[in-house]
Structures are given as C-alpha cells and as structure tokens.
C-alpha cells in the first residue's frame, strides 16, 4: 500500500511536470516577458515612435486610437503620405544624417528601388519580441520576405482582389471572359485604367498583364483608346456614370460607396488568365539605427500582433496573413485574403511585388507604359 502511494505520488508529479512548461520553456517565457517589460519601459523613456504610413484617414485614426490606448506613455507620430513622397524624404534625411523616421509601411516598388540599394534598412527579426509575432505558425505561409536577403522587407499581408469592374447596364459579364476580350472593338474608348506609370494598383495590373500576355497585347490594349487617369475616384465615377464600361486597376475600396448607393458597378469574375496577388501596402521596413529603437520594437510587435493587424486590415481594406485575424468579411468588398482562398504556391506564382519580380516584371512593364502612353 505504501509503495502504491509512492507510485501514485510519482505518477502525479510526472503528470504535473508534463503539463507544466519545461524548465527551459519557463526560462524562455520569463525571458521574453522580461525583455518585453524592459523594452516598453525604455520605449516610454524615448517617448515616441515615428512611422510613415500610406495616406488614409481611417488607418491613421485607427492606429493612433488603438496604440495610444495600449501604450499610453509612447506617442505614435504618423506621417501619412503617398509612397514615393515618403520614401524620397526618408532617403534624403538618411543621407543627410537626420534621423526622424523609425519605420516605413507601404508598397514595395519604392522600397526595393530606393531603400535597398542605399543599404539603409535594419534587419527586422531582431525586433520581434512577442512569441505571437515571432512564431511563423501564426502566419499564413510562415514569415514572408520581399527582399532576396530575406531580412529587410517583411510582408504581413497577402490577398487578391477583383480589379476589373464593369458597368452592369453597359456590359454583360459573359462578354469578357479573358483579357483578350478587352481588345474587342466594341470596347474602344470604353475602358478606363489607373495610370500604370504611377505606383499603385494600375501599375500592378499592368505588370501582371505584361507577365501573362506580353508586350504585344499591351500595345493592342493601348490602341483601344483607354481613359487613363491617376485618380481612382474619377475612374470609379466614370464607370458609375457609364462613361466607360470597364475599369482596370481600381481597388474595391473605391467602389464601396457606389456599391452601397446601388449604382450599377460590379466586379467582373476573374478572367481566365487570373489576376495578380499582392501584399498591398502591408510591407514593413525599419530605417537603419532608428532614433527610437525600443519604441520601434514596441510598435513592430503591436503592428504584427492581432490588434495591429486587425486595424491595418480594416483601415485599408486589405488582407492580413495573420491566422488569428478574421478576414472573411473582406469578401464583401471584393478582397480575398490569401489565407482563405489560396495556397502559398498560387500566391507566389502570381505576385509581382517581390524584389525579384520588381526587377524582372515591373521595371520592363513600366518602361513599356512610359513608351506607350504619351
């Protein structure tokens, strides 16, 4: 009986120790918690973190409110601007030795073409502190890098969207099943495209068409006398008013008020050649030797955490790769988060934002657009 009790105690002890974290795990847990507390304290002493974000009132409001509530001692200074303007300023400041920005969030082209060659970025992984951020299992397709070195430009979003829209009173969706149908003389003067010479969805769409259809197709497309504009709103309105029958490269977010108002704008079912996949504006870079390193660390961990990703996703209507963030609602606005609909292989085959694709697809496509649109 005595032996039985001893055996029972040993069994219970073994069970409890099996259920409790191991010594090394406990040490690791204590390690990150301690590091996090120290980082937050140091960040409070630094006082602020300066982040360049895409120009969007909703995103700015969401971030300021949420981050301010979560970290009251750290001021979040947001500089909202169009990608090219922000990167130019950051590069000029960096070269002059002025350290104002800590972080830049945005598309990849200017980052790949300007930040990377200037060697002005810090590796990102050392800034990961929280396990929920560090652990690749929390991310669809693990950690995803845009740069070839896989350490300077982190892509936290992956999605695809309906980027061809039509006016239902002018066109039936079965009339355009392939991109080749765009060349039908019936649509001459009736296609609108977001200027592919400027960064954004127009540029991405154009590059995708170059990738799947080639230069000859683009020449024929331009011969269709398209309405080329760099203003999404104006193109959306042109479609809603029936001035054009189709638009290319307009994001679903722009059409949302027109949809809600019951105007005859609709997303075209994806043409048979497919459409591109993207990370949108969801790319994180940290400027080398940031002026507020600890606050930068706090911000990075907040942004890549559940709360930060929800706010970013909602603010811009783009799909995060974080698995614990709900992205199903995005379908209502024509966006399909990659984690809900695609495999990583499918995503990578159609993306044109990575450093490699910028070099091999975007640059030649841009050169063609400059030549064709005079």
């Amino acid at each position: 009986m005595r032996y039985f009790h001893v055996a029972l105690r040993i069994a219970c002890l073994a069970l409890v120790s099996a259920l409790l974290p191991s010594g090394s795990a406990r040490a690791a847990q204590a390690g990150w918690q301690e590091e996090w507390s120290k980082t937050v304290e140091a960040a409070k002493k630094e006082g602020k973190v300066v982040v360049s974000i895409p120009a969007s009132a909703d995103l700015r409001k969401g971030m300021e409110e949420s981050f301010g509530r979560r970290f009251p001692g750290i001021q979040l200074e947001l500089f909202a601007a169009r990608g090219g303007e922000a990167t130019r300023r950051i590069v000029d400041e960096y070269k002059a030795g002025v350290r104002y920005f800590d972080i830049h969030l945005g598309g990849t082209t200017s980052v790949v073409l300007e930040f990377l060659p200037e060697n002005m970025l810090d590796p990102i992984e050392p800034y990961f502190v929280l396990p929920e951020v560090k652990d690749p299992k929390n991310w669809w397709a693990g950690h995803m890098w845009i740069d070839k070195a896989r350490k300077y430009v982190y892509g936290f979003q992956a999605y695809t969207f309906a980027n061809v829209w039509y006016n239902a009173s002018l066109l039936k969706p079965e009339e355009v099943l392939s991109y080749d149908d765009f060349l039908n003389p019936k649509w001459t003067g009736k296609i609108g495209i977001l200027d592919p010479r400027t960064p954004g969805a127009g540029d991405s769409t154009w590059s995708y068409l170059y990738m799947v259809k080639g230069e000859e197709f683009l020449k024929k497309l331009v011969a269709q006398k398209m309405l080329v504009d760099r203003n999404q709103r104006q193109l959306a309105e042109a479609l809603a008013r029936g001035k054009v029958a189709l638009t290319l490269g307009i994001t679903e977010y722009t059409f949302l008020p027109y949809l809600q108002a019951g105007l005859p704008v609709k997303p075209l079912p994806t043409p048979r050649e497919g459409t591109y996949t993207t990370g949108g504006s969801g790319h994180l870079t940290i400027i080398k030797n940031p002026p507020h390193p600890n606050a930068t660390k706090v911000y990075v961990n907040w942004l890549l955490g559940k709360e930060g990703q929800e706010i970013f996703s909602k603010g811009l209507g783009q799909g995060t790769r974080r698995l614990d963030v709900d992205t199903k609602w995005l379908k209502e606005v024509g966006v399909m988060a990659a984690k809900d609909f695609l495999t990583p292989e499918q995503f990578l085959a159609r993306e044109n934002q990575s450093e490699e694709k910028v070099e091999t697809v975007r640059k030649p496509a841009l050169a063609i657009s400059k030549k064709l649109f005079r």
Partner: protein, 575 residues
C-alpha cells in the same frame, strides 16, 4: 559750424552704416535661402546615379527631359491654353478692377469682396462644380440648354481644350488679377481721369488711353505672374485633360515626379528650363517698371471716383454676372459636396448626409490641425508682410547697389513648381546645420510658405510703391525724419490696404498649399491641408470638401476682419 558738422556727420554716417548693414543683410539672407535650394535643384538635374551608386553627373536627365514623349504637344498646349485664357482674362480684369476702384459702381465693396471669395475657393471645388454643370453626358446646364433649344446632343464638353480654358477663367485667372489690380487702381490720381473727361472722353476711352498706360507697371507684373503661373498650372489640366490626353508642360513634370521610381533629374531639368525662360521676362518686367516714372500718388493726389452715369447699370450687370459665375457655382458645389453621400449623384435613394461633417469634426487630429493651420497662416502672413515690404522698399525706393539682385531673387521661387521647390527647401533644411534644430517644427513651414508667396507679395507691394511720389518722403526727411521713421510713418500707412491684401494672400496660400510643405510636415505640425490630403487619398472627396470648406471659412473670417480694419486706414477713401 565746424562743431555742428562734427556732431551731425558721424551721426549720419552711423545711420548710413546701419542702413547699409541692414540692406546687405537682407540681400545676403534672401540670396542664401533662395539660391541655395535653387543651386541644389540645378545640381540634381545633372545627378543621374541610381540609388546606392556613387554620385554621378551627366546630361542624361536633360536628354530624357527634352526627348520626353509628347513634349512638343504639351508645350504647344501650354502656350495655346495660357495665351487664350490670358487674352480673355487680362482685359476683363482691367475693366473690372477699374470699375471697382475708380468708378461709382453700385455695390463695388461687396463685389470686391466676392472676387476675394473666389480667390479663396479651392480649384478642385471649382473644377468639380463645372463638371457637374457642363459634363457632355450628364451636365445639368448642358442638358437644360439642349432641352431648351431642342438640340440632339448636349452643346458643351468640359473635358476639352475650351473646357480647360473656361475652368481656369472661372477659377483664378480673372479673380486674382482683379484682386491685384484693384488696390493699384485705387492709388491712382483722379486728376488724370478728370482731364480726360473734360476733353470729352468716354469712360472706356479714358480707361484705354489714360488709365492703362499709367497702370503699366501693375498690369505688366500681373501679366507676367499669370504667364509664369500658366506654365505651372496642372490641377485643372490633370482632371479635364485626362480623357482627351491633353497634356501641358506642368503635367509632364508632375508625371515624372509621381511615377515609380520618380524621375527627379528630368523633372528638375524641366523646371530649370522654366526658370531660364522666365529670366528674360523678369528682366523685361524690370525694364518696363524702371524706365519711366509711374507716380500716381503725390502730396496733391485726388482720389475722386468717376461717375458712370448711364453706364452704371449695364456695368453693374456685367460685374454681377461675372461675380455670380466665379463664386456661386464653386461655393455651392463645395458646400453641396459636404452634405452628399456621393458628390453629384442626386438620383440616389438618400443622397444627403451629415456623415462627412461628423467624420471630419470628430477626427482626433482635427483640432490640432486647425490650430496648426491658424498658426501657420498667421506666422506666414506676419513674416511675409515684414519681409516683403522691406524687400519692395529697398528695390523701389533706395539706391542700394544690390536692389536689382534683390528684385530678381524675389522672383525666383515663383518660377518653380511647388513640389520641386518643396524638394529644394527639404535639401536646404537638411544640408544647413543652422536649420537642423528647427527641423520638424512650425518655423520651417512658415519660412517655406513665406518664400513660396514672396514673388506675388513683393511685386504687389512694389507696383503700389512705384506709384507713390517721393515728395511725401522728402517732406518727412526735410522735417528731420529718418528713413526708418519715414518708412514707418509715411510709406506704411499709405500702403496699409495693399499690405493687408498681401498678408491675407500669404495667409490663404499658407493654409491651402500642400505641395510646398508636403515634404516638411510632421504629425506635430500638420495643418488641415494634410488632413484633406488623407481624405483625398481615400477617395473621400466629400470629407475632403468639408476640410476645404472649413479652410475657406477660416480664410474668409480672417479676410473680413482685415478688410474691416483696412477700410478705416490707408488710402482707401470712400470705399
């Protein structure tokens, strides 16, 4: 006697030395803050190394600029569009300014204010307003005219060459000229008109044969400014020219800067070409304004108004018509836009909403942006009036050796597109250690905004100063007044209306201008214009219109206060 000379001369010498020191200091400071960024802009037009490469200079940027596809058509469009609108706007503005300033036109004070109001209204609101009226498909006025005259198709198309001309005329082309010319006309000696009337000349003949020649400096300056601005105008062309691909010189620069990656070398090269083209025009303006005297305000000046008699009501109708076109359409368009779910879509189930106002007023940064806007506008207005009046005074009324250089310097910022100048300022503030402590602060925004409005301000003050006779100052000097005393007690009061005008224009320019400060703003000093940009980037024009309306209300409020004050002082007799 010798003793008196000994005490008087050193004192005069000291005064002269101080004065010379001040003038040289003004010249040196201005030369530095204008030429340094300009030099960097010129240098960068030759800098063609790719990011990450060692700095390299070549003519590649210039070659790319000159061989830019469609450049010839863009230049032809620029010249054609500007000439057409200036040929319409300038004579009309001269007539309107003369009617407001020199005649007994009924309601002239209110008309004058309405032209100011037109100047306050954002170009985007004006453009959208006219699109709503004149779109070839759904334009309200277009369809009404077609229905009225049983036409098969709508007669007008705003997205056309003439549409661009029309929208420019309705935006700033006329109103800014009237604003600038009216104070100059007010300062004219009425005895010239009286003499013409005595000789039996009709009002319009008096205007053409007497007034226009006397007002040559002011008219030349205004015409030259319009020519320069015409080279830089792009907002209207960008919207209305898109469907028919009507590009102008400035839209080419804009596209080069906004493509990916931005082509800075060709864009700066094109800007340097503009600058080079403008230099002879600036020299011409100086030649016109200095070759003879244009004094119209002397100790014996009369400022009596010409009686229009039977022309009174036709003239009233003309001015009323123009004013309604310039103000009512865009103001209604702007205000209406703020209450619409989707601008211009009246056929929705619920087209009206208060959500746009709610979104803006409850935005957490609204109040701080509002405060920053006021500080930026006020700071710019104060600095502008002080510096511009000093520069204008030295240029026009002294024999300082560097006055021609000072005049030229005051023109240079105007000849460059806003975003290029903004880059120049960014490089200046980053390069010069003196400015580093202020980087990210409001002061540099004020400085950049002041430099941005400098040409307009200095030239307006100058054109009024050349009209002042020297006898007024000489009288002050004879009675022992110093140059500073004379400037303060004689020249400044005479110029009060025009200084107020310049102050208000600087205020407006600072509060509205995004391109000149876009690269210098931080979240701590962002003005309302940046909040507007946020909404525009989100394609939420309606919320952006709310911010635009608030900026207009702010500037109108400031203008009203200044105008009420301006009516009590200065030359402006009898309204």
């Amino acid at each position: 006697m010798a003793g008196i000379s000994a005490t008087v001369f050193p004192a005069r010498l000291r005064r002269w030395e101080l004065q010379s020191l001040l003038f040289n200091l003004v010249l040196a400071t201005l030369a530095f803050v204008v030429l340094y960024p300009l030099m960097l802009i010129v240098l960068n037009s030759f800098q063609t190394a790719l990011p990450g490469e060692a700095v390299a200079y070549s003519l590649q940027g210039w070659r790319a600029a000159l061989t830019e596809p469609g450049m010839r058509a863009a230049v032809a469009n620029t010249i054609g569009l500007s000439l057409t609108r200036e040929l319409i706007a300038l004579p009309l503005a001269i007539v309107l300014a003369w009617l407001l300033a020199r005649t007994d036109l009924p309601g002239r004070e209110w008309f004058g204010f309405m032209f100011w109001l037109s100047f306050f209204l954002p170009s985007l609101a004006v453009t959208l307003g006219w699109i709503l009226l004149l779109d070839s498909q759904y334009g309200l006025l277009n369809t009404a005219v077609a229905r009225l005259f049983s036409l098969k198709q709508n007669p007008f198309d705003i997205y056309s060459w003439w549409g661009i001309v029309w929208t420019h005329l309705m935006s700033l082309s006329i109103s800014v000229k009237v604003m600038l010319l009216t104070p100059a006309f007010r300062n004219m000696d009425a005895s010239l008109e009286e003499a013409a009337q005595v000789c039996g000349a009709w009002p319009l003949r008096t205007l053409r044969r007497v007034i226009v020649p006397v007002m040559a400096p002011a008219i030349t300056v205004v015409a030259l400014m319009s020519a320069i601005r015409a080279l830089e105008a792009f907002e209207i062309e960008l919207i209305l020219g898109a469907p028919k691909r009507i590009d102008v010189y400035s839209t080419k620069i804009f596209r080069l800067l906004h493509q990916e990656p931005p082509s800075f070398a060709p864009a700066t090269a094109l800007s340097v070409i503009t600058l080079a083209l403008m230099l002879p025009l600036i020299a011409l303006q100086r030649w016109v304004t200095t070759r003879r005297r244009y004094t119209t305000v002397t100790g014996q000046s009369k400022s009596q108004r010409l009686r229009l008699r039977r022309w009174k009501w036709p003239a009233f109708s003309l001015v009323l018509f123009v004013v309604l076109l310039l103000t009512v359409v865009p103001a209604l368009s702007l205000l209406m836009g703020t209450f619409m779910r989707l601008y211009g879509f009246f056929n929705l189930a619920q087209p009206w909403t208060l959500r746009n106002w709610h979104d803006v007023l409850y935005d957490p940064i609204f109040l701080s942006s509002f405060g920053n806007t006021f500080l930026l506008g006020f700071g710019t207005a104060v600095l502008a009036v002080l510096v511009y009046s000093l520069v204008a005074y030295i240029t026009v009324r002294t024999r300082f050796w560097g006055r021609a250089a000072l005049d030229l310097l005051s023109w240079l910022p105007f000849t460059l597109p806003g975003i290029i100048l903004s880059l120049g300022f960014l490089w200046l503030f980053l390069d010069v250690p003196l400015f580093r402590p202020f980087y990210g602060g409001l002061f540099l925004l004020v400085l950049a905004s002041s430099l941005n409005s400098m040409t307009l301000g200095v030239q307006v003050i100058k054109s009024n100063m050349v009209q002042l006779g020297f006898d007024l100052e000489e009288a002050a000097w004879v009675t022992g007044g110093t140059r500073w005393y004379t400037f303060r007690r004689v020249v400044l009061p005479l110029l009060t209306p025009v200084l107020l005008l310049v102050g208000i224009m600087s205020f407006i320019s600072a509060t509205r201008n995004i391109s000149h400060i876009a690269l210098l703003v931080t979240s701590a000093n962002r003005p309302l214009a940046m909040l507007q940009l946020d909404f525009m980037a989100d394609a939420r024009y309606e919320a952006a219109a709310v911010v635009g309306t608030i900026v207009v209300l702010l500037t109108v409020g400031v203008a009203l206060v200044a105008r009420l004050f301006g009516l009590r002082v200065g030359l402006h007799h009898g309204g």
